[in-house]
Amino acid sequence: MIENLQLNSKGKLKHFLSIEGLPKSLLTEILDVAESFVGIGDNQIKKVPLLRGKTIVNLFFENSTRTRTTFELAANRLSADVLSMSISTSSTSKGESLLDTIRNLEAMYVDMFVVRHSISGAAHFIAQQTAPHISVINAGDGQHAHPTQAMLDMFTIRQIKKDFSMLRVAIIGDILHSRVARSQIQALNTLGAAEVRVIAPKTLLPAHVESLGVNVSHNLTAGLKDIDVIMMLRLQKERMTSALLPSESEYFKCFGLTEEKLKIAKPDAIVMHPGPINRGVEIDSKVADGPQSVILKQVSNGIAIRMAIMAMAMQKQGVS
């Protein structure tokens, strides 16, 4: 159902909820459109009038700095009017339901919701319930998906490596709790990466992870061999409900990326991280700040990719 909901009758993007169900051609189009937005940040006037007169509401039911800021900047650079709401501090804490919040905002003539929520499927639910002229973008829902993060990662990879078909990509760390990892795996497989390898302790991998189309390794040293792109994940301490790991220092010893371990990957391998970084837990500072790291490039690219997705979802709004 998700795929039908995300595209309008002409096959164009309407909501952006998940990578799942989106064709390769559409993902490539998003990357191409984002390319055209990259230069705008360098202009004296960092704005284009594409979404002038549109109102975008950032609904953040869960804390986030980077994602919310880049969504705000992206909307501003498209000349949209943006309202950012941290819902934990608003009416929901007084007992208003999610649907009532949405209905009230709809009554204020908004055109787009950007939603982050701790419950998987929240953005999908809002997209189903909201008025037909409104587009919904998923900025992270529970452990399900974080598709704009995955797309900015794909954009960064393509900028540096050009072609996906030859690439071996390792996703390392807490796959179990990571919505980012799920979206990354789907995007890499859709775009035709040669191999997607997940490297993690057994306790931090979901059951039947192979069914996502990945190879599995439980050993960082062995797993990094022949790798072109290293995608680190944050150890999500706040989501750890049971004792899945002996200790953080033990984790760093086995799965932390150090300069020494990085040498096992291909010499031109790039190191990525969606942030925020736990230095000394999943990645050593020398690697995070080192020459192979593209972590800050990812942040810059987050603006262009979000501009592209917002602009594409808002076009042809008349078509349902």
Partner: protein, 168 residues
């Protein structure tokens, strides 16, 4: 009837005249992608303008975005940082409804406030929808309904007259 070299010559003569009449000093030439850039390259060379040609891609400034959406092949505009106070020669291939020029002016003014802008086009055809007109043209033509005029290039530059039926 539309010989490209004749039109380019006429446009060059017109521009030379207008540079004197309007007292353009150290003009900045800007071509509108794609066809306008090809014409502008020719004029830039013929008029011996030293400063590099500015390139304008108006896709983000179009007024039909909600109907046609984003073009994934947009290239960033390349304009010098200093537009403020400049004399600008804006060049396009075909002047038709006027909407492209409206978008181009909006974009230029986002970079700064020029002293004056002169508009030069190779071909002005009928069908204007906005109260703008070129200062300098290679030729004027009137087309019948369903006819389109298109520039192909950059090498060789040529003008094509198409009818909608033939295109479809």
């Amino acid at each position: 009837m539309l010989e490209i070299h004749d039109l380019l010559n006429k446009l060059e003569d017109g521009l030379k005249r207008i540079i004197v009449e309007r007292q353009l000093t150290n003009p900045l030439m800007i071509g509108i992608r794609t066809g306008g850039v090809w014409i502008a390259e020719q004029m830039h060379q013929r008029l011996n303008i030293i400063e590099p040609l500015g390139l304008l891609d108006i896709s983000f400034y179009r007024d039909d975005f909600s109907q046609i959406g984003v073009n994934p092949n947009v290239k960033p505009s390349q304009l010098p940082p200093q537009i403020e106070g400049r004399d600008i020669i804006l060049i396009d291939d075909v002047f038709y409804t006027g909407r492209t020029i409206r978008a181009a002016l909006n974009e230029i003014f986002d970079y700064g406030r020029p002293n004056q802008v002169v508009l030069a086009v190779l071909i002005e055809r009928d069908g204007r929808q906005i109260p703008l007109c070129p200062d300098c043209v290679g030729t004027h033509i009137t087309l019948s309904a369903g006819q389109l005029i298109k520039l192909t290039g950059p090498e060789p530059l040529a003008i094509q007259l198409q009818t909608i039926d033939a295109v479809a």
